[in-house]
């Protein structure tokens, strides 16, 4: 069976919109509703955060959403159960994003197996070292057809980018600048310079830009450089203010202001 991430990139190469939100937030059972609404609003890819108590790369908004989700009772078992209910309706690829400790406690093979069984196409674990991926994760990821996506930043060395590109099969997540999520200042000039370097390599994988993408203008600038962009903190803020999902997506796509 073909991985949905591959299918996506075969049909769409530009302006890919990926949205991140934390599982179990704002309410424990919001998962299905939010997934469906994002799909109905033509979002291309969904990144689903596994809530973790000590998320080192995240700013206060995602930290608080994670804590709220944990308090609501969210865990990996429940997350997979909720996804299972949506497998027939959700056709766009789903990626799980979390920290390695959650996966280790769940059990490595069990985790990748459940991903496969519940239509999860890829995982992002920002604190997974490359060597540990190769030694311990890769065989299960391959066996269960789950893509493991790695991050690079404008400060990552070319040698390391080549190494990551060689190991990646889904896409590469380009962190817009050296900062935790939700800081909101992206230096697009620096990013443009970085992309000129990337084009010279050239990468075999597609790229999506994340961290600091929060408006139509930043989405447009990011998608001029990359195949698409990822919106996280801004969407969680919208959820916490109970803004309508369609209005939010419309705002990102068209600069249409959100009427609340």
């Amino acid at each position: 069976m073909k991985n949905k991430i591959d299918i996506l990139f075969e049909t769409k190469e530009k302006d890919i919109l990926s949205v991140f939100f934390t599982a179990g937030y704002p309410q424990l059972n919001d998962t299905g509703r939010i997934l469906k609404e994002l799909q109905e609003n033509n979002v291309d890819l969904i990144e689903f955060g596994i809530p973790y108590s000590d998320p080192l790369a995240d700013g206060p908004v995602i930290q608080n959403a994670s804590q709220q989700a944990i308090n609501n009772g969210m865990n990996l078992n429940l997350l997979f159960e909720q996804l299972f209910k949506e497998t027939s309706t959700i056709t766009i690829p789903i990626i799980l994003m979390g920290y390695l400790n959650s996966v280790i406690q769940f059990g490595l093979e069990e985790f990748y197996k459940k991903c496969f069984e519940n239509s999860v196409s890829g995982v992002i674990l920002p604190d997974l070292p490359l060597s540990e991926f190769e030694d311990e994760h890769k065989r299960f990821a391959d066996k269960y057809n789950v893509k493991v996506i790695f991050l690079i930043t404008p400060n990552t060395s070319i040698t390391r980018i080549k190494q990551i590109d060689a190991l990646s099969t889904g896409f590469i997540y380009v962190v817009s600048s050296n900062s935790i999520t939700g800081k909101g200042h992206t230096d697009f000039e620096a990013l443009e310079k970085f992309y000129r370097q990337l084009h010279q390599i050239p990468l075999k994988n597609k790229t999506l830009i994340g961290f600091g993408i929060n408006t139509n203008s930043s989405f447009k600038k990011a998608t001029q450089l990359a195949n698409g962009a990822i919106i996280g903190t801004a969407f969680i803020n919208a959820l916490s203010k109970e803004q309508s999902i369609s209005a939010f997506i419309n705002y990102i796509n068209t600069t249409q202001p959100i009427l609340s």
């Binding site: 973790y52 108590s53 000590d54 080192l56 790369a57 995240d58 700013g59 206060p60 930290q63 804590q67 944990i70 865990n75 990996l76 920290y99 390695l100 400790n101 959650s102 280790i104 406690q105 769940f106 920002p126 604190d127 997974l128 070292p129 060597s131 540990e132 790695f150 991050l151 690079i152 930043t153 400060n155 990552t156 060395s157 390391r160 962190v175 050296n178 900062s179 935790i180 800081k183």
Partner: protein, 395 residues
């Protein structure tokens, strides 16, 4: 000879250690990993490091034969007086070492986390000495219970950022310091405990190993032998214990005991006894033993002592515990308080609450009069006077 006190090439002590960090920190960790041994082994570093330890910190610290305490426990007890170091604890051994590394790497700004404030004060002190900008992350709860240290850090010119997430203690201060480092990759992160991604645990253990090096020399003079029967130290993340154990880890003779904070008691849900309550997992960039739920969420710890109020332990200790090379026990808040009052009465030394945990274990050991014990008195109790005062009134 097999050496257990150092990690392998990948930064692991057995299965524990490693560097589990977001890509955003890869360059920083890599720069440190590639350079730290080279810098430490350079003549210039060694000269400056030992000069500062001797003339600024006041080393060697005494190895004091505590006769009254020995008589009370019917054995021979030596106290390694790290409480007499400049700034009041062993923490400065490490900050002197790391600040010289930061300087050699050309860094201008230092970030650090602190629990009890001892590491924060030791960091602010060396930053003042070397004219480097200093930013300290401290849990909001700890800022209240260790107010004297907050004032000292401010006076030393440090900026203090309260950690307001999670339990608002050391774990959260560490999270915030790491996030601060991600946002400011030109700065140097000066970790105070034997935790964090490789090479931090090794670096901290090496800088603290001066404690056990001196114990060996001093014991040779006092007892005609280098190795005691037993070395006891308190353990939060485990820096003072790593230093006190370091030279004895390969010894066939010396038994090693680490004492963790049981808080209100192991079974109460208010504890920080990681080696008893924890399981293998990842926290703050290394694989070690941590206190966590079955889903892998970190459990918020409790201890009366801010310096031991941490849900993890350094990978070296996890390894020594698993190999049964060291024994990790624990004592409650109440037992530690009593031990602090007891030492004050017996020897005229007011210990830090952290160090009082190491002293409190004496009540639980079978001791003999022909044994020689060394207890690492890691810090002095000035910072804990408000807590002692509260309990002094109760008695």
């Amino acid at each position: 000879m097999q050496t257990l006190n150092m990690p392998d090439k990948k930064g692991y002590y057995g299965e524990y250690g490693g560097a589990y960090i977001p890509e955003l920190l890869f360059n920083n960790i890599n720069e440190l990993e590639q350079n730290y041994l080279k810098i430490i082994h350079s003549t210039e570093f060694q000269k400056e490091y030992h000069d500062l330890l001797e003339n600024y910190v006041g080393r060697p610290t005494p190895l004091y034969h505590a006769k009254n305490l020995s008589e009370q426990f019917k054995t021979k007890i030596y106290l390694k007086r790290e409480d007499l170091c400049h700034t009041g604890s062993h923490k400065i051994n490490n900050t002197i070492g790391q600040i010289l590394i930061a300087k050699a790497l050309g860094k201008k700004r230092i970030l650090a986390e602190t629990g009890a404030g001892q590491h924060g004060v030791a960091t602010a002190t060396v930053c003042a000495l070397l004219k480097l900008e200093c930013i300290i992350y401290m849990g909001q709860i700890d800022m209240h219970r260790q107010e004297a240290n907050v004032i000292r850090m401010k006076m030393l010119g440090a900026t203090i950022i309260p950690a307001i997430s999670g339990s608002k203690t050391l774990k959260d201060a560490t999270n915030e310091a790491i996030r601060g480092w991600i946002n400011d990759p030109d700065s140097y992160y000066l970790i105070g405990s034997a935790v964090g991604p490789h090479p931090y645990p090794d670096m901290v253990a090496k800088f603290q190993s001066i404690i056990s090096k001196e114990i060996k020399q001093q014991l040779l003079k006092a007892e005609g032998m280098e190795e005691p029967d037993l070395v006891i130290a308190c353990v939060g993340g485990g820096s003072n214990a790593a230093g006190a154990f370091f030279e004895f880890i390969d010894s066939k003779k010396t038994k090693l005991i680490g004492v963790e904070a049981a808080g209100k008691g192991i079974d109460t849900g208010y504890s920080a006894a990681t080696m008893t309550l924890g399981t293998t997992g990842i926290l703050h960039g290394s694989r070690s033993i941590i206190m966590q739920t079955k889903d892998g969420q970190i459990i918020e710890p409790h201890s009366i002592s801010a310096g031991l109020d941490y849900p993890g332990i350094g990978p070296l200790h996890a390894f020594l515990g698993k190999r049964k090379r060291a024994l990790y026990l624990n004592v409650t808040d109440e037992e530690a308080l009593q031990a602090a009052f007891n030492l004050t009465k017996q020897e005229g030394i007011i210990p830090a609450l952290e160090s009082a945990h190491a002293l409190a274990i004496l009540n639980k050991l079978e001791l003999h009069k022909d044994q020689v014990l060394v207890i690492n008195l890691s810090g002095r109790g000035d910072k804990d006077l408000p807590t002692y005062l509260d309990h002094y009134h109760e008695k």
